[in-house]
Subunit: 341 residues, 2 copies
């Protein structure tokens, strides 16, 4: 009888970081694709766009004018999903209808004054300035007593809902800990309690030994496709040292973090010869006043493309009603990315 | 001081059915949209398409020819994500790397021989035949000893990853219970144990009293926007009677279920004057040989559109890294849909 093989047979993989599962169907990418194709935007963008509300010196929706910033620039989102003045309160009916008011702050961060570049195209020292700003924002927002979690992220590309190509990211800082980092807190805390070590440090050790899912590494960070990756070319950047948040990063680590982000996004751009779209985000300890020794700093990249610059993976019917499903193995995806380093 | 108001202030809502949370930002839909627009396909489709692998009499990828079916037609997916011959097995390393083989069956169900119609355009007696087939498939697949969950769903529209416009749905039946129904099992079982009643029956009673989130109802079913809805115009069809699965539906309930599906999809089509895209799926009790008295049959509709036929809601950076977020309240969405009944 044939024996079970991860490369040939459908299986579920456990996400040790969240407790969720993903269905992996190695054979499925062979099916022909007649569905939706994404538009590829290869427009030549100008270095400065007078109509862009993120370019230096331009007018924003709230009537303010952007300064003539030379590197990075941060401001409060003019159409914020979270507001600092939201009054406290809740609304309940029995135990089935339950809402709680949510206070917060939404920031926009421009990565560069140049309208025509992306993270893969700006220099490491420039990305380092983005890291510095993230660090400062994490500490500043996290210090507010009503902010218990600071979510730093970037949506890159129209297919990821980005409405402006100017290189920028966002920060949503809020009172409660969102669902995903809350799950990661539970899993990491349980592991830390049982083993006295960081879940991701132990996981990283396994991966560095195995090598099949590693994409690239430098002195302080590793970029890999997690064993439980959901998106076809999903990656995670994990720090080699076990620390909780951006505020604890050394200068050398900040340089190395900037360098690995640039290198990884260059690899991504090479994969389908396109400015590779993704949502990326940092996961770090909540700013709820507790120590969280279990937390291990990392960054997720969730890119939607599956087959080419125009064919993405759709997370739809089965994925929404059942659980996420992927069509190529993480190991084969890592091999392709590794070949492009 | 201003007091907390669900219509004005950002807040989190608890999903009693899954235990998750969603962030609601009532004011956010005011932001201007300069991002990606979906293509609207208003092609006139022929009643029969010689190039369609779902039309009667046509050749499929595996070399078989479709019968000249007069109403519905079911066959095993030629590019199945789950296969019945998958050998049993698992793969683990420590407690951080864990995979289990997954056996299953993927079916495709044609809703009609007509290539040019959708669920909102075929008659109630024809939809009733789809319900009959779903029932038969649920019972037949569920009776196999290695099938513990039967997920019935439809992806409608290119934006939802559907690669063929011929009206059809899918069934993925498998050994393990996927993440979403597993969460619903936990929540419903806990409520049933504590209260001796169905969670969704009690929830439905609250909603029928409140009326603000009801879209439409008939003798046996109610279509409403759940208090915790994630997608802008997400709805749920809930049975008035508490029963566990399709196999227990009476003839009158099957007729009423067909009728409410048709009526709801007509309302959807009217909203943005377009053939409204969505992923829809049935949630019912696992077929694991247990009774599951806690389970209450229902159907979810997750439509992506937010503002018009071309502007959808993007579930991206914050939503993937934090938790789902919505820009209009469920109550205002329900009011709009109710106005189109
Ligand atoms: O099976 P289809 O229609 O080709 O594929 C579609 O539905 C599947 C189940 O939700 C998804 O996994 C695919 O990403 C989507 O394109
Ligand atoms: O804030 P933006 O870039 O306008 O909006 C984008 O990112 C947000 C945060 O992930 C999402 O809620 C929006 O759906 C998306 O279009």
């Amino acid at each position: 009888m044939e024996s079970f093989d991860l490369n040939d047979h459908s299986h579920r993989r456990y996400n040790a970081l969240t407790g969720d599962w993903v269905l992996v169907s190695p054979h499925r990418s062979k099916r022909p694709w007649q569905g939706q194709q994404e538009a590829v935007t290869i427009e030549e963008r100008p270095q400065y766009d007078p109509g862009c509300y993120l370019c230096p010196g331009n007018l924003r929706a709230n009537g303010e004018t952007n300064p003539d910033y030379p590197s990075t620039f941060v401001f409060t989102n003019d159409f914020a999903a979270l507001q600092s003045e939201t009054p406290a309160g809740s609304f309940t009916k029995g135990n089935l209808i339950k809402a709680e008011s949510e206070r917060g702050i939404c920031q926009v961060i421009c990565f560069s004054p140049r309208h025509d570049l992306t993270l893969s195209e700006i220099s490491v020292p420039e990305i380092r300035k983005v890291v510095d700003l993230w660090q400062q924002q994490y500490l500043e927002l996290g210090a507010l007593d009503y902010i218990n979690y600071v979510q730093i992220f970037e949506n890159k590309g129209q297919v990821m809902g980005s409405s402006n190509p100017h290189p920028h990211g966002q920060i949503w800082a809020q009172s409660s800990v969102p669902v995903e980092p809350a799950k990661e807190t539970v899993q990491q805390a349980q592991y830390f309690q049982e083993n006295g070590r960081s879940l991701l440090a132990d996981y990283l050790a396994l991966e560095l030994e195995e090598k099949t899912r590693i994409v690239l590494e430098n002195e302080h960070f590793v970029a890999l496709i997690p064993f439980w990756a959901v998106w076809p070319f999903e990656t995670m950047i994990v720090s080699k040292r076990h620390f909780q948040h951006l505020g604890q990063m050394t200068d050398a680590e900040k340089d190395a973090f900037a360098a690995i982000m640039k290198q990884l996004s260059e690899v991504y751009d090479r994969l389908f010869q396109t400015s590779f779209p993704y949502s990326a985000g940092l996961h770090q300890s909540p700013t709820d006043g507790q120590e969280h020794p279990e937390w291990h700093f990392h960054m997720h990249f969730y890119p939607p493309l599956l087959r080419s610059a125009t064919v993405k993976k759709f997370m739809v019917g089965y994925e929404l009603m059942g659980n996420p499903q992927r069509d190529i193995t993480p190991e084969s995806a890592a091999e392709r990315l590794r070949g492009l380093v």
